[in-house]
Symmetry: C2
Subunit: 120 residues, 2 copies
Amino acid sequence: MTQQPTCFSAGCPNRALFSEIADKWSMMILHVLDEGPQRFNYIKRQLEGISQKSLTQTLRKLERNGLVHREVIASSPVAVRYEITPLGRSLQSPFRALYRWTYENLGAVETARQAYDQRL
Amino acid sequence: MTQQPTCFSAGCPNRALFSEIADKWSMMILHVLDEGPQRFNYIKRQLEGISQKSLTQTLRKLERNGLVHREVIASSPVAVRYEITPLGRSLQSPFRALYRWTYENLGAVETARQAYDQRL
DNA sequence: CCGTATCCTATAGGATACTG
DNA sequence: CAGTATCCTATAGGATACGG
């Protein structure tokens, strides 16, 4: 254990939380909601390739973890607003740092892949 | 598309790279290798709960993406050294930022979960 | 010691159909 | 519109056995 607290044990709640949080859809949804509150189908249209089921599941997970607020507006037909919470907002900068890394280093990674694949 | 480049299309290589990179085991392996080059079974002992198969797969993926260097030392029995590359090192700070977030906000997340679960 | 090969199971997640 | 319910498949990943 170093002074920077890290945790490798199987039952570690941080490890579990990391697994829940660091997935593609969560990151993309929070990014969409960063612009402002949005409705279910608007989010769905932004995320090419997501199924309705996956979107619902991911939104529920985000809501349960306190990263997104869900508000039902009683109209006909019903409308639902999803809004990022302050806690969710605080997760943006780590996410952006990771995204920026992929953006800046994609070329290096692809070069490495070609080198690896040609050594076969 | 905002000025901060992000990409939501299904075929986006950044999106794929993010999915490959942002997993629990990759993050933990890079952290272990941050101390210095290590051997297969040492890494395995650090990561409670990982199977040999998963460790091999993840190490290969890291190697292919240029984040880890694998060196076979011809002895008997054979030894293998895994070493983090400069590219791998550059990924550490985004990872640490994400880990730090889980560490600092675990309490808030757990509170949110209790509130959510009691509204049923 | 460091794997590969095989089998097996659990889970994620797409497609589709239906509802308040 | 915003889901829920069901089915179905693909993939991840553990357990085990064996090999260089």
